[in-house]
Symmetry: C2
Subunit: 495 residues, 2 copies
Amino acid sequence: MSALEDLKKRLRLISRYNTAAALLEWDFETMMPEKAAEERAEVIGEISGHAFEMSVSDETWNLVLNAEKELLESEVDKAIVRVAKKELEKSKKIPPELYKELSIETSKAQAAWEKAKTNNDFSIFQPHLEKIVELTKQIADKLGYEENRYDALLDMYEPGLKTSELKKIIEPLRDFLVNYLAKLEKGEKPDNEILKQFFPVEKQKELSIRALNLMNYDFKAGRMDVAMHPFTTTIGLNDVRITTRYNEHDLNDSLYSTIHEGGHALYEQGIPAEFSGLPIGDGASMGIHESQSRFWENIVGRSPEFWEYFYNDLVDVFPELKKYTPEDIFRATNYVERSLIRTEADEVTYNLHIMLRFEIEEALINDKIKVADLPKIWNEKMEKYLGVVPEKDSEGVLQDVHWAHGSFGYFPSYMLGNLYSAQLLYTMKKDIPDYNEAIRKGDFKPLLKWLRDKIHSKGKMYEPGELIKMATGEELNPEYFMKYIEEKFNKVYKI
Amino acid sequence: MSALEDLKKRLRLISRYNTAAALLEWDFETMMPEKAAEERAEVIGEISGHAFEMSVSDETWNLVLNAEKELLESEVDKAIVRVAKKELEKSKKIPPELYKELSIETSKAQAAWEKAKTNNDFSIFQPHLEKIVELTKQIADKLGYEENRYDALLDMYEPGLKTSELKKIIEPLRDFLVNYLAKLEKGEKPDNEILKQFFPVEKQKELSIRALNLMNYDFKAGRMDVAMHPFTTTIGLNDVRITTRYNEHDLNDSLYSTIHEGGHALYEQGIPAEFSGLPIGDGASMGIHESQSRFWENIVGRSPEFWEYFYNDLVDVFPELKKYTPEDIFRATNYVERSLIRTEADEVTYNLHIMLRFEIEEALINDKIKVADLPKIWNEKMEKYLGVVPEKDSEGVLQDVHWAHGSFGYFPSYMLGNLYSAQLLYTMKKDIPDYNEAIRKGDFKPLLKWLRDKIHSKGKMYEPGELIKMATGEELNPEYFMKYIEEKFNKVYKI
């Protein structure tokens, strides 16, 4: 057997433990009886820990080095060794005790965050966040960076992207969004109460399943269940499961959660079978992953053409909506609002929420601000970017759990997803001249095929920067997103 | 830390992998999308194999030997070491290659069995069964025995029980059952068509949930799902899941599958938390486990008193059954028939099916008969014991998958469960004088408490023979079962 084959065998072996851990976690969130939580956490810890130890072991490292010496011909094989090596190098840089300490601190921090949020008292969370920031800085220093300590963190979620590039993107985008938001106020507000009537769960489920079938999600290689916070998980490339949730007084919630997760799932279901269990058998980055979910959720699912087609399904399931036109529904799903909560934000304001968090994270990691000042800084930025200020920290700096998880560097993925998806859209439209007509007919196959060719089939072979250049012919360019927002919301707000 | 604590830590660690494997298997049977089967089999194989290797490792063995040297005071601690040692000794006796060979053969045999059954052609299965019998004999020889090679196999499922004891039990029981079956034919047949009308799945599910709640099954430490072959699985003592199935034209099927599995689950939910992850944190044997499921299914669930109470739930869910009396329902659920298929057999004939299989197994393992002669021997015994002869081998010797799985020694558990449960019943009735009245009131707590005290709380601390003596004051005695059958079916058949 060749050294590469030995390496692949080892990596696939490790991935079986990660698969088991993924199922244990999926079950935790969807199926598990409540009394089992404590036992389960121990089982997940053990299995994931074992997988991690196997992956950073000398045995695996030697297999990588041996495979690297081999004359590899195919791009795929080269990528397997390259990605495996990069990931291993990173993992090996962090002393296990540091990981362990962070893991203990984040457990405590999550409990403190919940308490702080419930009691609307940032001071409960503050000391925990300080510790987490301290440990995260240590991790960043161990990982190493050239320009900016935050680069080391960003690289974990968006390999290759630099903080300086992100800043360059953000500046014009922020100005545009702040101005555009003001402009929308002169337009005609959609009636978003249409989607806030009473919609029984079972019927919403039926509508969600129709949407997934339309998207060509493969139910023979996946499932849809309920979870408090919707997510997609890959138990295997033939077992990509999505979760959604139902709010009986908001049709937007479940339908767009489902379509969003469906977009993530289509990505995973489209990764080549031969990549399974290997480090390239994954999405290119969190941002690219998010581009797929946002593409289906917003660019397709909130388009006028989509509603021209899907309106029939909608009124078939909810005949009481017949009194509205497809355009009414389209506009209602695109209601824009200066609001406090990121997860409920529309396409126009969403990125402003992310910028705020990115700026805070970057400043914290580089010692430019203090954790103690976060509530004040948060509120100032909210006012500046969104024109609203939370009355309570529970609706402000305490709204997201990410920092309690120690996820620094993750938030920008959400924004990148939006930008990538718009850039993909304009290239796709060039390649598929009857793009709008296809959606109007409910024929999403050409769209999916394009995404499969350009994105899904590449797995994690390339860094997101390379991939987006290969797919669109240019580097990440926020102009496309701004153009998309303007074109669409001028229509929604009849400007 | 004491040697015992070290051992416990190790055993609990190993049990986490077994927990993961149990969840992977549960998911396989209930939730998994169909395309994932092949990948999943590999993951289960890896995780279970890892758990097995850990358990038979020198490290574990040395911990057992160290703990054994320690002065242990409590019965529980002594049992932990004793059971761990016994199980490990057994596992160490079998060379891994032999296990592996059997596992490969049983995979092939299962496929062959399916084909043989579909084509009604025993010759397709015959060479595979011959190999499995051969390997099973080798395993029995490695395990060792005093009197009878079959004892070694029996011990895997019913520790301590000897073939000679089983034969002594079977002889009078078979005569009784054959005679009693003839006697029933002179009685008045119940109308079992009552339960063979159309019953929608959702309503059957509702009735099943009511039955489980009545039994005090804890849904916060369990779930109920659908599987082709109902089973109970323990993902942890706080996560004991049952599965059932629905036949829209047979109310018996799901209701009694649910109650049966509920009985298994009550046992597991009743094992003390401190036993969790340890070798005593399990049922005493397959037979004792089956005694719990059969107790609830038949002795309680098919009693006249049960139907006096549960009739109200039944007609609440299925008002169309109001035209029948509780007695009609009771009698319908106890219809007796000379039939070909074990899994569909009633309480009177069930044990005859088991005896037939036991006799064949024992003879095969001791080279008294040949695999090639099985169809003939099967049919002869069917005629002798049950008075019916299958027209096709698919309804005869090919009906069960157990031998293709290599499960020799397992079938007697089903019979033992029936016998144990009746013996428990008569002791319980002495301890709970208003036993019948409690059931009539739907108050199953005293029954469950008794089972918890006498059986569940002991886990796997004792061998089944010891346990049954502790619980009932005497050794396994088939007289109780015969008495029970006669008392009940005289009522059903109005003799």
